[in-house]
């Protein structure tokens, strides 16, 4: 199966001395659902920003399909790659519908209004993210979860081939969280590639085809969820003792050692 994204030997740091990533290589296959997990400061968000091309690496190449990402025009890139960042805030009084419509930017001529298919894409994105009822509310006055759903809807309206999500479930309630993951699974079934960064390991383990465990800017392990969610690897990455049990659907669940918590008291 061909790779939609291929990052080779990336090197990155926010200043001359500081190095976040060193010789980082990473591949995502077509129609794969990848979860990126790891402790705080392991470089998850940085990697996402590098893969989206927003940050340029000091060394190494990122291929999107067959093209280098920095050689694609911004519109070409945005038609392949949709990105949902962690937080978006604005004081501008945009309505939800206006924000979702912005997702069409790369698909339409900059000076012309939206056409039939654009409206369909916007409507179905709003329906899928459950924000159609609030489409005329002001984005700036929404709750965190509604905002997150609106931004995801905007990325869906973009109709990309691959979706990068940074902590997509962080402000969602249980219902919307499961709804979102189900939706992403459905998109995957229709051929979309999905890659998400999350702290919710169990949720990722349940839905992803492959988990990538990061530590200090390096890939610690990569593979099917049961191979990754093991007490040994969790201890190595997060430094805590856990037990792993198996859920009703065969998914790995983490049960923290009560003892480890008791010692602190």
């Amino acid at each position: 199966m061909p790779e939609i994204m291929n990052a080779q030997n990336l090197k990155f740091g926010y200043s001359r001395e500081n190095t976040v990533l060193e010789d980082f290589s990473f591949k995502v296959k077509n129609s794969e659902f990848v979860g990126l997990i790891g402790p705080n400061g392991s470089g998850k968000t940085t990697i996402l920003k590098l893969l989206s091309g927003y940050l340029s690496p000091k060394a190494g190449d990122i291929f999107l399909g067959k093209q280098k990402i920095n050689l694609l025009s911004s519109r070409q890139r945005a038609r392949i790659l949709g990105v949902v960042p962690q937080v978006i805030s604005t004081t501008m009084p945009f309505t939800v519908k206006q924000v979702v419509e912005m997702g069409r930017t790369a698909r339409i001529s900059p000076f012309l209004p939206l056409r039939g298919h654009d409206h369909e894409a916007v409507c179905s994105a709003m329906n899928e993210m459950d924000v159609f009822e609030i489409k005329n509310s002001l984005f700036s006055q929404l709750s965190g979860g509604e905002r997150q759903r609106t931004i995801i809807a905007a990325a869906l309206a973009q109709e990309p081939e691959m979706l990068l999500l940074d902590e997509p479930t962080s402000s969602l309630d249980l219902g919307h969280k499961l709804q979102l993951m189900g939706l992403l699974k459905g998109l995957q079934a229709r051929g979309m590639t999905v890659m998400a960064v999350s702290h919710d390991i169990e949720l990722m383990a349940k839905y992803c085809d492959r988990l990538v465990l990061l530590k200090n800017g390096k890939v610690l392990a990569s593979g099917a969820p049961p191979e990754i969610i093991t007490p040994e690897l969790i201890k190595e990455a997060y430094g805590c003792e856990v037990n792993v049990i198996v859920g009703i659907n065969g998914e790995p669940l983490i049960s923290a050692e009560i003892k480890a918590a008791e010692i602190k008291y």
Partner: protein, 321 residues
């Protein structure tokens, strides 16, 4: 609201033509007595309305663009040091004696220094990894502070007469405009507003942050540059035409967004109209408030604009709460 705008527009134009030291009956506007004096009077009022409308419109549009790019509700056309640069240029024109030779010296020098300040800010703002707009805001404040401290130094060395000229220039004046200058400013304002409107979709994206704009398929740096340069040119043109008139560029964009929403594809044109109407109305008041004497229009914009602005904020805020 869209119906009210043309009505207001006609009202300020007719008001601007009729109200003044001598009152002209609106019905007589189509039938002006054929003597030199009446023609001169009408001609003066026309150029004054045009100046006020251009300056007000340019400042409001520029203010809207700055607030969008800098993502800061306190941003206004003078925040990037353009007014500081322009004042410095005007002061230099006055102390060097250039202003005594030609009426174009002060606006010319003001424009040149405004552009210099802008170029300096945009160059200094280039930094890695952090958002360009944040850097620009900081370097703008720094350039502004440096310009005003040099200006303070110059002011401290001035004699009384020159000091008066500089101070009066900084208070703003809608009468001084020379016709050729006015034409340039109109051209800059119209072209600038069109350019910004054409980039309206990109401006919408930029207001959600540079990363968001990038992800949705734009080149943030290019968009930021287009918006900032256009807005700065418009500000520079208005400042050199009429001096520093505060508040218009801060208030009008906020009010316009409150009433008409945030879509920049029409926001810039609406700002042009609203800013023009607002400043023309303020100018009419400044002309008639005291007999024979003129009140600086900047005083009126703040006095009228402040309460009006608070009313707009509360009105809309309550409805959405």
């Amino acid at each position: 609201m869209f119906v009210i705008l043309p009505v207001l527009l006609i009202a300020v134009v007719v008001g601007g033509l009729c109200i003044g030291v001598t009152w002209i009956n609106p019905l007589e506007l189509f039938n002006i007595p054929d003597d030199d004096l009446s023609h001169a009077l009408i001609g003066l009022r026309i150029s004054r309305i045009t100046t006020a409308f251009t300056v007000g419109g340019a400042l409001a549009v520029a203010g809207a663009a700055y607030q969008t790019v800098l993502r800061n509700p306190l941003a206004e056309p003078y925040i990037l040091g353009i007014s500081g640069g322009a004042s410095l240029g005007a002061a230099i024109a006055i102390i060097s004696g250039l202003s005594a030779c030609t009426m174009l010296a002060v606006p010319g020098m003001a424009f040149v220094f405004a552009i210099l300040a802008m170029a300096l800010v945009l160059l200094m703002g280039r930094g890695r990894f952090s958002e360009y707009s944040e850097n620009v805001l900081l370097s703008g404040v720094i350039v502004g502070a440096v310009c005003s401290s040099i200006l303070m130094f110059i002011i401290s060395t001035l004699n009384h007469y020159e000091l008066n000229s500089v101070t009066w220039w900084m208070l703003g004046n809608l009468q001084a405009a020379d016709n050729s200058l006015l034409n340039i400013a109109i051209a800059v304002t119209v072209i600038g507003t069109l350019l910004l409107t054409l980039n309206g979709r990109q401006a919408n994206l930029i207001s959600l942050g540079e990363e968001m704009a990038y992800n949705m398929g734009t080149v943030p740096f290019r968009v930021v540059m287009i918006l900032l340069c256009t807005a700065s040119l418009m500000t520079a043109a208005s400042v050199s035409l009429a001096g520093i008139i505060s508040f218009v560029g801060l208030l009008v964009p906020h009010a316009t967004r409150r009433i008409f929403g945030a879509d920049h594809r029409r926001l810039f044109i609406l700002n042009l109209i609203c800013g023009g109407i607002f400043l023309t109305a303020c100018d009419i008041i400044s002309r008639v408030l005291l007999e024979a004497q003129e009140v600086p229009v900047g005083v009126i914009t703040a006095l009228i604009g402040g309460p009006f602005f608070i009313w707009i904020l509360n009105r809309k805020g309550r409805r959405n709460a």
